[in-house]
Symmetry: C2
Subunit: 150 residues, 2 copies
């Protein structure tokens, strides 16, 4: 097996590791957030994204990018959260095709309740993952990840 073949195998192995770590974190967050505040991970992601805008609103499209979801899934995700009165749709005047979403007070309150659960779970899972030799290098690399632009 030559050097090129090795590189292919290393990439495939790295991808399996990445997928394993991602799945581990996501399932733990899902369990923790679900039982504590009845939120899925994507739902928390929406609340978190809206909150990081701090009082400002986001278009559906931005939400779709933030959650890595299709437009249709984004619509229904926002529907669910709106039905629970955690956010509101706001038609914007300048482009009447666009729809802004904004956290309600209830949404902000639930987010404040969910965030410590989220952060503690993440800390715990990353610590556990860091103890597994095959996951550790990827976990450590996360510390150096720069903020994602807008």
């Amino acid at each position: 097996m030559g050097i090129a073949d090795d590189a292919v195998e290393v990439r495939a192995q790295g991808w399996r590791t990445l997928a394993a770590l991602h799945g581990l974190i996501e399932s733990e967050l899902e369990r923790a957030l679900g039982s504590a505040v009845d939120l899925s991970v994507v739902e928390y992601t929406v609340l978190d994204a809206l909150n990081r805008q701090d009082g400002w609103h986001m278009r559906m499209q931005q939400l779709a990018r933030a959650t890595a979801l299709s437009p249709s899934a984004t619509t229904r995700l926002v529907n669910r959260l709106e039905d629970r009165a955690l956010l509101t749709r706001i038609l914007c005047a300048d482009d009447r095709r666009g729809i802004y979403t904004e956290l309600t007070p209830a949404g902000r309150a639930l987010y404040e309740r969910a965030r410590p659960i989220h952060d503690e779970t993440l800390e715990r899972v990353l610590a556990e993952a860091s103890a597994q030799p095959e996951l550790a290098p990827v976990v450590d690399a996360l510390h150096t990840a720069a903020p994602v632009a807008g």
Copy 2:
């Protein structure tokens, strides 16, 4: 904001980066494998896992772990692949609860056809991701990931 708060934010940011990279790779693989050989990523994962056993068989449970899927999803995934004659179920004699799965020649042939697509796509996507400053550190860390046991 203190040091502890920073650590929380760094972890959250790292998790968002990890999720973004995972989503990027998965969607590209999905597209490439889907259009070329009509396989989803999980379906390819099964074929790949069975092939790495090289002629040996795997239990449903092992497959569930390899794909990070629930038992029920594993059953239906194997059903789909069996319906396409890519693998066969084999009842094992020593523990008659257990069911082994094994690649058929057709399954092995399709896998051989899919692997280059998979590997080339992975190489291309990782190269693209490596060019994005916020993803690069995680991509680089994948090279050092050791083989996963079992």
